[in-house]
Every structure is written in C-alpha cells, then in structure tokens.
Amino acid sequence: MTSHLLWIAPLVPLAVGLVMLLVRDRRMLAALDVAGSLAVLGLTAGIARQVAAHGAVTALGVFRADDVAVIFLLLVGLLAVAVAVASVGWMRHEVARGEMREDRLRWYFALVHGFVATMLVTVLSDNLGILWIAMEGTTITSALLVGFHGDKHGLEAAWKYIIVTTIGISFGLFGTVLVYGAAAHAQGGVFAGAMNWSSIAAVAHRLDPGIIRIGFIFVMVGYGTKAGLAPLHMWLPDAHSQAPTPVSALLSGALIKCALFGIIRFHTIARDACGPEFSHGLLLAFGIVSVVVATPFIIVQHDLKRLLGYHSVEHVGIIALGLGFGGRVGTYGALLHVVNHGVTKALAFLVAGDAIGRYGTRDMRLMKGFLGIAPVAGTLLLMGAFSLAGTPPFSIFVSELLVVRAGIAAGRFVPVAVFLAMVVVIFAGLVHHVGQMAFGVADARAERGREAVTPILAMALLAAVMILFGTWIPFRPDRVLQSAAEIIVG
C-alpha cells in the first residue's frame, strides 16, 4: 500500500525548522518546538497504525515502512516530544544563566528540527543510498549542535565527531556500493528500485557471498562507528557529553539507534546471501568488545555526562549482542532494548542536565545531596540509574534478560558469562556514583530553587514508559516487536 505520510513525516520538522529561522521570540520558538514535535509523534503514530493494518507501506518508490521501521520511528517521535517539552524550562534557565544567547536560539531550534527530519528519513528510506545520505545528514546537523556553545571543549568534540563519523560512514557507503553492485549483477542490470532494500532482500539468496561478506564488513565498520560500537566509539563520550543536554538526549537515545537500523537492514541481506553465522559472529564480536571496553571507563568516570556516554557504548553493545545471538528471543530482546535504552538514556541525560545546572559542575564528586535540593528530579535520577544498571521493575532488566536467555539458548556460554560479569561490575560502579550524588548534604553554593515544571513533566513521561515496559508490554507494541523480529530472523 502507498502512504503519503511517509514523505510528509520528515517534511513537517523540516518546514517547522525553516519557519523557526524567522521567529525571534523565545516563547514563540518553544511553542513551535513543542507543536512541531507533537506533529512528528502524531505522524509516526499514524504510520504505525497503517503498518499494523496493511503491513509494509511505501511511497515515491524510495520510502518504505515496515514493523522494524515503526519501532525506530516511534522512538524518534517520543524522544522528540520529551526533549521539546523539557527544552521549554531548560532553555529559560540557560538563557537566564547566560549559557545560551537569546538571539541564537532560533538557529538552535531550527537545527534540532533539521536533525529530527534527517533521522526520520534514515528510518523511512527503502533506498539504501538515501539511507546513507540521510545518515550523513544527521552527522552534519548534529555536529553543529554539539559545537553550538562554541567553547573550546564543545568545538573539539564537534570536530572529532564529524571527522570520525564521516570517515566511518564513508565505509558504510562503500559497503552499500558493493552490495548494490552484487544485486545489480544478480538481477542482470539496473532498473528503477534496484537500490531498494526490499528488492535487494528479495534476491539476497542469489547474491555472490564473497562480495556481500566484504560489503557487510564495510557496512558494519561504517554504521558501527556511527552507532558507537567499540573500538570505534572514541568520539562518542566527547560528543554526547559536550552537546547541549537536550541534544545529548537525542544523540544517545535516538541517533545511535538509527545507525543500528542501517546495520539491521544489511544484516538481513547478509543472512540470506552468506548464511546467518557470518553476520551473527561479527555482531557478537562488536557487542562483547563494546560491553568490555565500556566497563572500566564507567567505573573510573567522574564526569556525569561522560559516564552516560560510556553507558551508551555498553548498551549499544548489548543490542548488538542480542542481534548476534539471534533467534526470535534474541532479536526481540535487542529491539526491545533499542526502545528501553533510548527512553531511559534520554531520561538520564535530562536529569543530568538539571543536576549540572544546579551544581555548576559535571564532577560527580562535587555533587552531593541532589535528592535533598531537588526531590522529584532526584527520585527520577535514582530510577533512571537503577534502570540503566538493569534492575527490575524497570524496562532494561526485561530486555537484558531476554538477551541473556537467547545467548544461553544459542549455546554461546562464554559471551554470556563475560556479559553477566561486566553487568555486575557496572551495577556496582553505577550505584556507587549515583549514590554519592543523590545522598548526603548539598554544598551551600548549589542552587536550591524550585524545580521547573516542564523538564519534570518530560522526565515523568519517559519514566512512565520505562516502568510500563518493565512490568507489562502492552499488546500492540508486543505485536510490532514480534513481527519485526520475524522480519529480521526470516
């Protein structure tokens, strides 16, 4: 079925972003930001309904949404809304403290909407070339946002980010070219839609395994760099910690998942062309390395936002592990983890931004008694941290459990054992860091003002989703996740 929503969805944030460039009033910008993000969420929900009713929908011959895409779409929509709502109060505070110049706000908001638009195109594109173009588009828009404050650290992080991820995903383009070349060879010529994932996947079992293997390695390295899989993650803690807080939430919560979406698309092609063992093995290797590499950095970290950055490396690794263990359970767990980590990490970054604003530092050793000066945000901090560490009744526990179960079922005992050991160490490290921050008596210089309403509202929304998915996965999301896992497992 064709659906016009597929091309309208990315066009809306793009148009909203362009309109924002004409607006100078802060309140007006915030209203546009929230309205635009709600429109995005509405459109993604509309696409989800169509997919649920009719199966995969297409548009213009290059866009396509199936159940896999719906998961990522809804995540982007939800996080866009949460971040927009939180930005209302956050931005007022930033402007008051002189961190953000009021005359540059419109550029900031316009870039955020451009960034959201490129993420939507990434997830909606059927054409693998457009997928790549949009992915590079996310780098360009978000690099400007990472360096938006214009201080030395921010610019350094932005430079590392744009140079490393651009060279990284140019590997992805090369892999795309090779896969496309193999497909064109197998199909005996070039035709309209020859570059579409759906048409390549349909002939995947006839593709030359040698060239697909090389292509998948290039794609894995390329999009893996963008996803922050170790050892290609060097830029991630810098970029995610130096970006303005709402942008950090989008980068860690949504963007790295979009890169994984690219890997998933090529994984399904490689699965049919050269058997599942090859791509499973590669995903497993990157996954376990990410979890192991992130652990020591999490333990010794004192910078709150860098801590969260390294946590993203760990969790992207867990998603790769789930995909690598494979099977229905592992894939379902990995997709559920995409949602759970996205929601939880956005929550954690929003709380972290609030805490950094109050203490005027990012050093966790100097932040004491957060629960005392901000009871609501402090509670949400503890909830977010326990969820990240994998404690029930929060959502990450469920998806990590599914990943472990799939690993045992697949007989991959060594990676499972290493993974469990690392999770225990990370739990101890995280509880230590956050306990230090939440309890005790706050420094006299810490700001004790009333808690701003809108950031709390946004965090509560995310926390509600986090608890819901931890206790009971509603029927509809469950069905989407199951049929998405079906598509990936084949």
Partner: protein, 220 residues
C-alpha cells in the same frame, strides 16, 4: 558507444593507477599546499574516469556525474581548503605522528592486501570494470591512514576527500554507477560536511589560536 569495452577497461586501469599515484603524493607530501593540489588532481582524474565510463556505456547519467565531480571535488573543495588555509595562516609544514617510512610501508601493505582480496572474488568481478574495486579499497584505507597519521585539521580533510574519491571510483565502475539522484545527494553531503568542518576550523582558530585536530582536553 564511442569506446569499445576493451579500451574502456584499459583506460580505467590507467586512471586507477593515476589515482593511486596521487594518493601516494598526498600521503608523502610534507606541505599542505601540495596535498591539496594532489587531491584536486585526483578528483580531476576521477571525473575523467566518469567520462570514460559514460562514453563506453552510453549512460547519460555518468556524463552528469563526471561534470559534477569535477565541479565539486576538483574545483570547489580544493578552493575551500585553500581559502581556509589563507584565512587561518597556519604553518604549512605537515608534521607526521607516525614516521614517514612506516606510513609508506603500511600503504604498500594496503595495496597488496586490496589486490589480493580482489583476486579471491568469484564471478561477480565481471560486474566491475577493470581494477576499480582494489583501487577503491586502497584509496579508502590509505585515506584513513592519512587522517590517522597527521594531526592537522586540513590534512585530515584532504585524507577524507581522497577516501571518498575511492568510493566514487568503485561506484562508477560497478554496473553503470549508482542512480543519478543518489550520486548528487552523496556529493551534496560531502560539500555540506566540508563546509561545516571549515566553519569549525575557523571558529577554533579565532577563539583559542590552535589547530582543532590538535586539541586534546577531552580524555578518559
């Protein structure tokens, strides 16, 4: 068809050799200007390769791609780099992080590896004209080597562009190139990315007077 397939294959191999030669010039150049001129020449050869393939296959899209490649990558991007160099008045010497003979040895290993990899491929090789695949792989990897072994923002950008030239070369030679609209989108991304990188370099210069690639305050 203005060219026979045989002649086109030979021409592509000659152009591939020229691309490799310019890549080595970039890798070995001790001066920023030389590296920029070398990458411009490389993009010009890439444009000629596009024209050869267009003449051989009769694919009109490839003529357009060849023209855009020369306009964007052989003229605009080098011009942008030279402009940034003049604006920031940086020292023009390139200091290597890794000694030059080690980088050259690594480059040689990359070339051997890429051609060996190509020889191991099956019938699908027919779909790619001449030696475009190993040349592409070599260019990409040596581009990364340039970026990793130099701590200068503009040299890293040159390495990046050279890497991308390798991708375009292989893409052109595979089954008559990618769809035109995709090629245009990719080149647009490259140009926009280069502009953002230029902005970042200039902003760091104006605020702290250092090379952005040399900042090392974020660690651990």
């Amino acid at each position: 068809m203005f060219l026979s397939v045989d002649l086109a294959t030979r021409l592509i191999d000659v152009l591939g050799a020229l691309l490799l030669f310019t890549m080595l010039l970039i890798l070995a150049s001790g001066q920023l200007f030389r590296a920029i001129y070398a990458v411009a020449a490389q993009a010009a050869f890439l444009g000629v390769a596009g024209a050869v393939l267009a003449a051989a296959t009769g694919n009109v899209d490839l003529w357009i791609i060849a023209a855009i490649t020369i306009g964007a990558k052989a003229i605009f991007l080098p011009w942008l780099l030279l402009r940034v160099v003049r604006r920031v008045q940086i020292s023009r010497e390139i200091e290597a992080v890794i000694p030059m003979h080690v980088t050259l040895a690594l480059a040689a290993a990359i070339v051997v590896l890429a051609f060996h990899l190509n020889a191991s491929l099956g019938p699908v090789r027919q779909a790619i004209t001449g030696n475009a695949l190993p040349v592409g792989v070599t260019l990409i990897l040596i581009g990364v080597l340039v970026m990793a072994s130099r701590r200068k923002a503009l040299v890293q950008m040159v390495g990046l562009f050279a890497s991308e030239n390798g991708i375009f070369f292989t893409a052109m030679a595979i089954s008559q190139g990618m769809p035109l609209i995709i090629e245009i989108g990719v080149i647009l991304d490259v140009v926009l990315g280069a502009l953002v990188m230029g902005i970042l370099v200039l902003r760091v210069r104006s605020s702290v007077d250092a090379d952005i690639a040399d900042l090392e305050s974020l660690k651990g």
